[in-house]
Subunit: 376 residues, 2 copies
Amino acid sequence: MTFSISAQDQQSKARTGTLTTDHGPIHTPIFMPVGTAGTVKAVHQRELETDVQAEIILGNTYHLYLRPGLDVLSQAGGLHKFNGWSHPILTDSGGYQVYSLSNTRKIKEEGVTFKSHIDGSTHRFTPEGVMDIQRTIGADIIMAFDECTPYPCEYGYARQSMEMTHRWLDRCIGRFDATEGYYGYQQTLFPIVQGSTYPDLRRQSAEFIASKEREGNAIGGLAVGEPAEEMYKTIELVNEILPVDKPRYLMGVGTPANILEAIALGVDMFDCVMPTRNARHGILFTTEGIMNLKNEKWSRDFSPIDAGLGGYASTFYTKAYLRHLFKAEEILAAQIASLHNLTFYLWLVRQARVHIDAGDYVTWKNEMVERLMRRL
Amino acid sequence: MTFSISAQDQQSKARTGTLTTDHGPIHTPIFMPVGTAGTVKAVHQRELETDVQAEIILGNTYHLYLRPGLDVLSQAGGLHKFNGWSHPILTDSGGYQVYSLSNTRKIKEEGVTFKSHIDGSTHRFTPEGVMDIQRTIGADIIMAFDECTPYPCEYGYARQSMEMTHRWLDRCIGRFDATEGYYGYQQTLFPIVQGSTYPDLRRQSAEFIASKEREGNAIGGLAVGEPAEEMYKTIELVNEILPVDKPRYLMGVGTPANILEAIALGVDMFDCVMPTRNARHGILFTTEGIMNLKNEKWSRDFSPIDAGLGGYASTFYTKAYLRHLFKAEEILAAQIASLHNLTFYLWLVRQARVHIDAGDYVTWKNEMVERLMRRL
């Protein structure tokens, strides 16, 4: 995997670049739609490629491990073959999901024991095991097994957790480097910076992660409830340490404003369930601001969902029709809204790239952040 | 609206033809996907047009009247403008849905009083009112307000109900012919033959309906639980009376085998929720037979859903992937299965047309009925 930077903004840390994988190029900054169980909810693969213009999607190790299971994925020839997505895929480590199961999981130095949310069966994830699982899933980018601490988090716990995440990282690297992919293409491992919101821990973690000299690095443990300002400060601090010539991935972020601000701080990759989850609840992100399609006010608005965005979902269907579909609890509501929101998120990062290349990113970003977060 | 017959099969009553509406031509025999609340469930309008190759879809008067309501539909400029479907639309009369609300509706000569399933509010449908409603919805083909009797049905009730349906038809025609469409295109009214499974009543009803000399005629009250043989006998009897030069619409039918048999008996138009409803439950109709995608046996079958059918949903996705989506209760499961089943149904009637035109319809139909109803 190679990463080349095309342009560096002069007023901020924003940059454009290209991450090249065996499944094709990823233009950064990029947003990665989340395909939890091997599907980006309510969106056909053809729509992801053609309408959304996604360049890489996410899979969740925890979900894929439980269902369809490694046996099926292995026989299919990996997740790309299984779901038909021929562009790059990134898998998380399963850590975040496992920690969310707070009542049924036990964390030890060796790894984490947890119960399946599907059938209650007991499983164990270890750093080595999670590398093997992601080898089998066949993601292009594999994430290290980490602990994502909650917010707020006591200093002592945050430090101990970060230190364990670092020890786990060494075990991940050991296993990853001693193994090869099963399907004939290259995979790469991204380590994850932790340390909650404590500057000294974040600095220490970023230095540790940078010292591993992997092909890309991630920032985890943010967007878990802390104020946005605290998140931005942490990103700024961490990005001063993470190498400039490697892609930086901010995990689980966020709103359109979060993404534009983090790009200004030098982040290259994002993922979040927000565009698809909010879509299913009737919340649309548009070029004019945020709309709740369940509101009565849209019932007689026969204008396109978002004429300024363009594309099928946003211009073919009207606000009044989509509002009707939500009230009638029709599946097509989730389909249109998900397709629209993802198209919007990918448009947003494409626009960011255009403005970084043009040299006016900060001016554009400041206008957009205000406009995009308006409640319509 | 005009109807021209292109070919008449020599071994059966099957025929091909073209029904021309102001929203374009409909090639018969045709299957009409059901779009209950202004949406064919889980299928984008673009997919209906391009992948399914639907030529006409249905709307349900009962559902559309309650939600989004006539006010919204009228302001939108009718259902075509509201949902973006620019080809022909047929609306049922609401009668079938109203009678299904058996606990909350009261049938009188004047009309039917019922309570909304959404908010319990009281409404009344009369023959005149239902004509006005369908004028407002703006369907190309409008159905008469009838009573659909259950199966089995006592002779006395069936006769009285049929007689009321005939009196209602005269009121429908009176109102329809005294009014005009709101949106600048022609609408047409189809009357409906009733009479349960009693040959003398069916004959009497078919004669009454034929005497009205409308542009097309429908057969109602079938596929409500009676044996298939009884349904076929009734269709045969009715089609001997309904004019040959007018399209015949068999309401609410049916399985692939039902459709092929009814085509042989001279039916031209069909609608049924089966392809979409069964799809949502994991039941797929394919060129090789019927599959239950929830079965374990498909979990490692990485072949396309239906290579013989062709088209996006059926060849891009595999059986194993679709099975996984059903087990994981993903929305995409309903999307793929609905798109596949509708593509199959429209393929089926296109193939029927090809074989009627080629003169080998009965031979082909007999082979297909056996093959398509196999359980895979």
